[in-house]
């Protein structure tokens, strides 16, 4: 009943890459579709395209502000973070590599690092721990994925239910569609309008969370 091999699919990156290169134009409607922000970032990187940047900004700035408000609890610092992060997006667009992940992931990590270094600057210590120490901006060697081993028995157990309900809503939604409605990862991606890679990440996280609930050592 459970298809554990589906969790290790390798076709994600190449498909996404194809999609991105197929659509190098951006639309100005409000519909969110995979590839839009990656395309916009590419245009900013190639031509310093202000129109494409304005679209990115319109979408991400208010969301980063909400993130900043949650983390700082005050509007002035939240806005400072938005400006610093969005300035980095403009200046460093050429560093964005769509084959390594979505635009939203890249922008999120920029904002996270900006925020961390803002907090650090308040203490103004030269040798203090920096965002660059903490978050590696590169790729670790590729791993063989075996995280889905011995999951079928646990997933079918009755004891699962309470842990399943305790999953974060976004992860629970994906798990429900894959395991209860038996939809493919691609179908879930289309239905929820989130990238395929995000579907896979949320499944792996949910499985790990369930495993943590079951198995103290998480070995």
């Amino acid at each position: 009943m459970l298809e554990t091999t589906a969790l290790t699919g390798h076709h994600d990156a190449s498909n996404r890459q194809k999609r991105i290169t197929q659509r190098m134009t951006i639309t100005t409607d409000n519909e969110i579709r995979t590839g839009q922000w990656e395309d916009a970032l590419t245009l900013v990187a190639l031509n310093e395209d202000k129109l494409a940047y304005a679209e990115l900004f319109k979408y991400f700035a208010p969301r980063l502000k909400a993130f900043g408000m949650k983390m700082f609890g005050n509007e002035q610092q939240a806005m400072e973070m938005v400006q610093d992060a969005m300035l980095n997006v403009w200046r460093k667009a050429r560093l964005f590599d769509a084959s390594r992940g979505c635009a939203s992931t890249w922008i999120f990590t920029i904002a996270r690092n900006v925020r961390f270094d803002m907090l650090r600057k308040k203490q103004s210590r030269k040798d203090d721990i920096s965002a660059d120490d903490l978050w590696f901006d590169g790729d670790y060697p590729e791993q063989e994925s075996n995280s889905s081993e011995h999951w079928d028995t646990i997933l079918m157990s009755e004891k699962l239910a309470p842990h399943f309900d305790a999953l974060p809503p976004a992860q629970r939604m994906v798990m429900q569609k894959v395991y209860l409605e038996e939809k493919s990862h691609q179908e879930v991606s289309d239905e929820l309008a989130i990238p395929l890679g995000t579907v896979k990440s949320r499944i792996r996280l949910a499985l790990d969370r369930l495993r943590e609930a079951f198995d103290d050592t998480r070995s």
């Binding site: 925020r115 721990i129 920096s130 996280l205 050592t217």
Partner: protein, 229 residues
């Protein structure tokens, strides 16, 4: 590396690490663990994707949506982009530094490399040597070297004690810890770590003072066993 990492930070700790809400010293230990642990590399990658997607999925207030952002956009787009030369990013494997103590040289994971190169001088006490990393006065982040066949004196600590094995092996009442294994001890834990007769050990040691806990970590402390082991 043949050793499989057995002791990982809990998911909640990893989530706060990715979010950037852990205190810097604790985050440093988690980051160095990730450098050594393929399992947590994948997990923190997945958590980053999940949190970034949540950024897009959150509700944005009409006020923030309609706020006048034009001035900020104009300011930003008037700035020059980075020159081609300065955007040469290295996709290479993490750079590692090394430290030498007791006539032995050890490789240091990426997260600690910059700081380890500037470590304070080694203070030796019997078979044990420590060198503080320059992470700020209030933080107790140090390298801890334990010679073979040495017992660390029974000790208590006020805050959270994190020990990450960087080389060799250490054992205590609860088990055996090899490269990449992360031990987290709360103030109530009394433990007596020691090395085996034939193998010394280099660790990263982080002592978090209780006052330094942020809100998230305080929440973590309560059900400690459940999350960490």
């Amino acid at each position: 590396m043949t050793h499989a990492v057995k002791f990982h930070p809990g998911l909640m700790l990893l989530e706060q690490y990715v979010e950037g809400s852990l205190s810097a010293d604790v985050a440093l230990a988690v980051s160095a663990h990730i450098d050594l642990c393929p399992h947590c590399q994948q997990l923190s990658h997945d958590i980053t994707i999940d949190q970034a997607a949540s950024l897009g999925e959150q509700n944005v207030s009409a006020h923030d949506e309609q706020q006048d952002w034009q001035q900020m956009v104009d300011f930003i787009t008037s700035q020059p982009g980075l020159s081609a030369a300065s955007v040469q990013r290295s996709n290479a494997l993490p750079q590692v530094a090394s430290v030498t103590v007791n006539g032995r040289t050890f490789e240091i994971p990426r997260a600690l490399s910059r700081l380890a190169e500037k470590h304070n001088k080694w203070l030796q006490l019997g078979g044990i040597a420590t060198a503080k990393l320059p992470t700020g006065e209030k933080q107790h982040v140090s390298l801890l070297y334990i010679d073979k066949g040495t017992e660390v004196p029974n000790h208590t600590h006020l805050g959270l004690e994190m020990t990450l094995v960087l080389a060799g092996k250490i054992v205590d009442e609860n088990g055996e810890y090899g490269v990449g294994d992360l031990l987290i001890n709360s103030p109530d834990d009394t433990h007596t770590p020691r090395t085996l007769a034939d193998e010394d050990c280099l660790c990263l040691s982080v002592l978090s003072a209780p006052l330094k806990f942020n809100k998230g970590l305080t929440r973590l402390l309560n059900p400690l066993q459940q999350f960490f082991y």
